[in-house]
């Protein structure tokens, strides 16, 4: 008992202030940046190998001032979102279908599980043959990649809805769409959002590869084009842009989780 009383006091002494807590995640990136800059300045890191952070920043400013950067970012983001909407939407619909109806599961699940084991990027030769180096090729690859995480998690979410709640709903006369809206969908939502977050990460990975292989615009194209001219600073800007966009997508997914799952104590304090 005395141990338990002591422990909070001991904790408050060591608890970091709010400011320090917010600064903590940035300590490692800033340290890395400092090491990188000093290595470049000292000449240990040749600029044709890796440009200095200062060079990357000035290249970023030049690219964004000319508007070229934003054009590429817009094209890539639109591709990513369109592919996500198509693949994720289809995954959601099919996941809801196979999760809710047994005959749909019997009909479709085996096929989907087989196709799932093919990495989307392995289809690139075939996709180029089918769609050429058109927009549709990139949309197809992104859609295919994001489809499976959304599908699997939706299916699993529907299947793991609390049976007690379903039973309760039925004794209250709920069935059909009201039962779906009140109990099945909200019950599956945490799992569906896990799938969404997962596929948002996958979305960028697949888009990078698709854009580096065949494109005339987009961040991947910009990076590959810079390689032709040995513009390492532009290459690094492109790579860092993916990191930023990926983080933004993750923040969006987290925001959705915090809003839609605010009833769940596990998500209330999640930061």
């Amino acid at each position: 008992m005395s141990e338990r009383q002591k422990s909070p006091a001991w904790k408050t002494q060591l608890r970091p202030s709010v400011l320090a807590k917010q600064a903590l995640p940035w300590v490692v990136p800033i340290l890395l940046l400092m090491v990188w800059q000093s290595a470049s300045s000292a000449g240990i890191l040749p600029s044709r190998f890796l440009p200095s952070p200062r060079a990357v920043v000035s290249s970023f400013i030049a690219l964004s001032a000319s508007g070229e950067l934003w054009m590429h970012v817009r094209v890539s983001t639109l591709r990513a979102l369109a592919g996500f909407a198509m693949g994720g939407g289809l995954g959601l619909v099919l996941g809801l279908l196979t999760g809710s109806l047994h005959w749909a599961e019997t009909l479709l699940d085996t096929t989907i599980q087989m196709v799932r084991n093919i990495p989307p990027l392995a289809l690139i030769p075939l996709v180029i043959l089918w769609f050429g180096i058109d927009e549709s090729a990139k949309l197809f690859l992104v859609s295919l990649g994001v489809f499976f995480p959304v599908y699997i998690n939706t299916f699993h979410g529907i299947r793991s809805v609390d049976r007690g709640l379903l039973e309760m709903g039925r004794t209250y006369g709920l069935s059909g769409w009201p039962l779906y809206r009140e109990i099945i969908l909200p019950g599956a939502l945490p799992s569906i959002l896990v799938g969404v977050r997962f596929s948002l990460g996958l979305m960028w990975v697949i888009l990078i590869v698709a854009e580096t292989i065949s494109a005339r615009s987009g961040i991947g194209y910009m990076t590959m084009n810079a390689r032709e001219f040995m513009q390492t600073d532009v290459m690094v800007v492109g790579i860092l842009l993916y990191a930023v966009l990926g983080k933004l997508a993750d923040l969006l997914a987290k925001g959705l989780e915090r809003y839609w799952l605010r009833w769940n104590p596990a998500y209330q304090r999640a930061r």
Binding site: L165, R170, T171, G173, L174, G176, L179, L261, N264
Partner: protein
Amino acid sequence: MPVTCSSGEIATGDRRCSRGVSVRIQSVSIAFGGRTVLENFDIEISAGEFVAIVGRSGCGKSTLLRSVVGLETPQAGTITLGNVAEHARKHDGKPDLRPPVRSAVRPEARPDVRVMFQDSRLLPWRRVLPNVMLGLEPALIPQARKVLAQVGLAERAGDWPATLSGGQRQRVALARALVHDPNLLLLDEPLGSLDALTRIEMQQLIEDIWRSRGFTAMLVTHDVAEAISLADRVILIEGGCVALDEVVNIPRPRTRGGTRFAALEERILGRVLQRRRVVEDRW
């Protein structure tokens, strides 16, 4: 069968008779995977009566309750609510996703029969008031608020169920059942997971509401004292049949310390334990 209007000591005694619905369970048999849970089971419950069903774990008391509301399908027999017979339904074993039909064939869709489960089964993604409103038109919000006030949780209407205590959650579940103004309330060990003090409070609340509203109540419990303090009649189930059917003739409000209370509790408990001794001897 005793008509319990005579035991209604309160002024609303007459209303009780008109409100409740009678339950007649006739030669019902239920088996799960070859194991018989209830066999040729018969009981009759009058309108407005409060019946407690006790028995050891796995004796089929919950199954009985669930079959009254249509969550289990008896292999044989009929369950009659009021004067409309619910005949043995076709057993297809599939989850029911058909639209609700307000007929005696599907009593789970009957708006006048409500269940309270052992766990509150509140929707965690709905705040307290929307939980109480489940399956109701938005026009009935004032009524839901009134019932919520009746169970003493008016000020928690906007809270998430996750922030409530176990007892408060059961109160919300009770309010959710009561807002439909049921003629038959089925209580499936609703107080089983509560602490002793909260339990007594909840028993009082359920008794008060039953007395003022006059619905028929079926309470499944493993707590003999709880059964005696609440019910007009205590039915003991053993081996799938009625082993004991005792009318509780103790005037309300009942105090647990009373001699008649203690004597009855001892008699029923003795009957439960005696059965176990017989079973153990046989082994």
